[in-house]
């Protein structure tokens, strides 16, 4: 059997289109997941025990079931309850909601990491809750939440491959289709692995740069 990666790479424009869909869903999905997760964590932090208990349920369900099952339920089960979505919106929604459950836990740890006295100081100076969250809590927890957030972004990137199973025209679907047409299955898998790995390395590097920025006050020389 010949191993000829060239037959895959010859379909460059198609691969790029799949890559584009993957990156778009990944970036948008991660952003939405983090935003929704932050809203959930904030509501749990400031809301009473009732709100906390109610919000814990979806978080537990989403963390307790496989992503594949969730997107199948959404895409194939949704129409039975009147939710009919095209593959890309369904994939984006599924990824955002799934990621939000994890980001909610990441930001919950972030809230717990800030000493209560730092919030009391803001209270005494007349900061509103919103001002305290934006000016004190978020920047202070940034260092704590950044590493797990980057980690989660990387996991979400790799989970986008599963969206090929609900026919989202992302990279895995595209490259596997090329592989089938060209009888080059192995080559297509190698190309996929390399491209995902390159994206993950890029995300990790950006994460480290962000960490350095947010830890500037710790790195400052005495």
């Amino acid at each position: 059997m010949n191993f000829d990666i060239g037959v895959i790479l010859a379909k460059g424009p198609q691969i790029l289109s799949g890559l584009g869909v993957t990156v778009l869903i990944w970036i948008a999905g991660t952003f939405l997941a983090a935003a929704l997760g932050f809203v959930i964590a904030t509501a749990r932090h400031y809301g009473g025990p009732l709100i906390g208990a109610v919000l814990a349920i979806p978080v537990e369900v989403l963390r307790g079931t496989p992503f594949l099952v969730q997107i199948f339920l959404l895409y194939f089960g949704g129409p039975y309850i009147g939710i009919t979505l095209d593959p890309i919106p369904a994939g984006l929604l599924g990824l955002s909601v799934y990621g939000a459950a994890y980001y909610a836990e990441i930001f919950r740890a972030g809230y717990q990491s800030v000493p209560p006295g730092h919030v009391e100081a803001a209270d005494c100076l007349g900061f509103s809750r919103g001002q305290t969250v934006l000016r004190i809590l978020l920047p202070e927890m940034a260092l704590i939440v950044l590493p797990p957030s980057v980690n989660m972004a990387i996991i979400l990137l790799k989970e986008t491959a599963l969206l090929s199973l609900i026919t989202v025209p992302e990279m895995t679907l595209t490259v596997q289709a090329i592989g089938s047409q060209q009888y080059a299955f192995l080559e297509s898998l190698v190309v996929l692995a390399l491209v995902y790995w390159a994206l993950v390395e890029l995300a990790g590097t950006l994460g480290r740069l962000a960490e350095r920025y947010f830890s500037r006050y710790r790195l400052a020389l005495k």
């Binding site: 100081a121 005494c124 100076l125 007349g126």
Partner: protein, 265 residues
């Protein structure tokens, strides 16, 4: 002749955490311009009382008036305590600046950032004006040249002076200090106490929870001794520290005589 409104009135305040009563029916007036010191053994309730005055803790019963305005709760005719809106509480609290034992500076901001933050965020002053005012406060506590340092780059004493400058930036009428030197190495307490002496000399109304009995005796104008949640004595230092002293106070002071309070021996 009507007496002027006290800066702070504590009226029949009790406070319980669950089943444990930490403050028992405390009443205390602190007139403007006084340096009122809260002293007493650990667990006597002095920090809790101060935190109630800052509305960081809620009283279980009784009321606290700041400049004559009720703090945290509005009194209804029926005697039912209605919680004030957050905006109302903020308005009453604006009279107060608070200094904590653990400084509680925000680590992601420089000294200047810490002191100017409330001016920018709460008072909405333009950046340049906020920073000019903040710089004036830092100069006052002797830290102008450290303005661009982060808290992690400052000594404990310097951090506490920044915290004092931060509280002063909003020009409060009353300053509350919760054991401001307890987290400091002994050689660093002096610089913080010096700043506090200067404030006192300027006529600032101050309430100070302290273990620095020497400071209380020399700068305090009203000494309040708490024990087991009760206010046992309140009066000018020459009265409270006058011999013969009540037994409970004598026992307490005995432990301090060799710690800078030898003037009371």
């Amino acid at each position: 002749m009507t007496r002027p409104t006290p800066a702070i009135s504590v009226v029949n305040v009790s406070k319980s955490f669950g089943q444990t009563e930490v403050l028992h029916d405390i009443s205390l007036d602190i007139p403007a311009g006084q340096v009122s010191c809260l002293i007493g053994p650990s667990g006597s309730g002095k920090s809790t009382l101060l935190r109630c005055i800052a509305f960081l803790e809620e009283t279980t019963s009784g009321r606290i008036l700041i400049e004559g305005q009720p703090l945290g709760f509005s009194e209804q005719d029926s005697g039912y305590r209605a919680r004030q809106s957050r905006a109302q509480t903020r308005a009453v609290r604006a009279n107060i600046g608070m200094v904590f034992q653990q400084f509680n500076l925000w680590p992601h901001m420089t000294a200047l950032g810490n002191v100017s933050a409330a001016l920018k965020v709460v008072r909405k002053l333009p950046k340049a004006e906020a920073e000019a005012r903040a710089m004036a406060q830092l100069t006052k506590v002797g830290l102008a040249e450290r303005a661009h340092h982060y808290p992690s780059q400052l000594s404990g004493g310097q951090q506490q002076r920044v915290a004092i400058a931060r509280a002063l930036a909003l020009e409060p009428k009353i300053m509350l200090f919760d054991e401001p030197t307890s987290a400091l190495d002994p050689e660093l307490t002096g610089e913080v106490l010096t700043v506090m002496r200067t404030l006192a000399a300027e006529g600032m109304t101050m309430v100070v929870v302290t273990h620095e009995i020497g400071f209380a005796a020399s700068v305090g104008t009203q000494i309040n001794f708490l024990d087991q949640g009760r206010l046992l004595f309140s009066g000018p230092p020459e009265e409270v520290f006058r011999k013969p002293r009540p037994q409970r106070l004598e026992q307490f002071l005995d432990t301090y005589i060799d710690r800078g309070a030898s003037m009371l021996a």
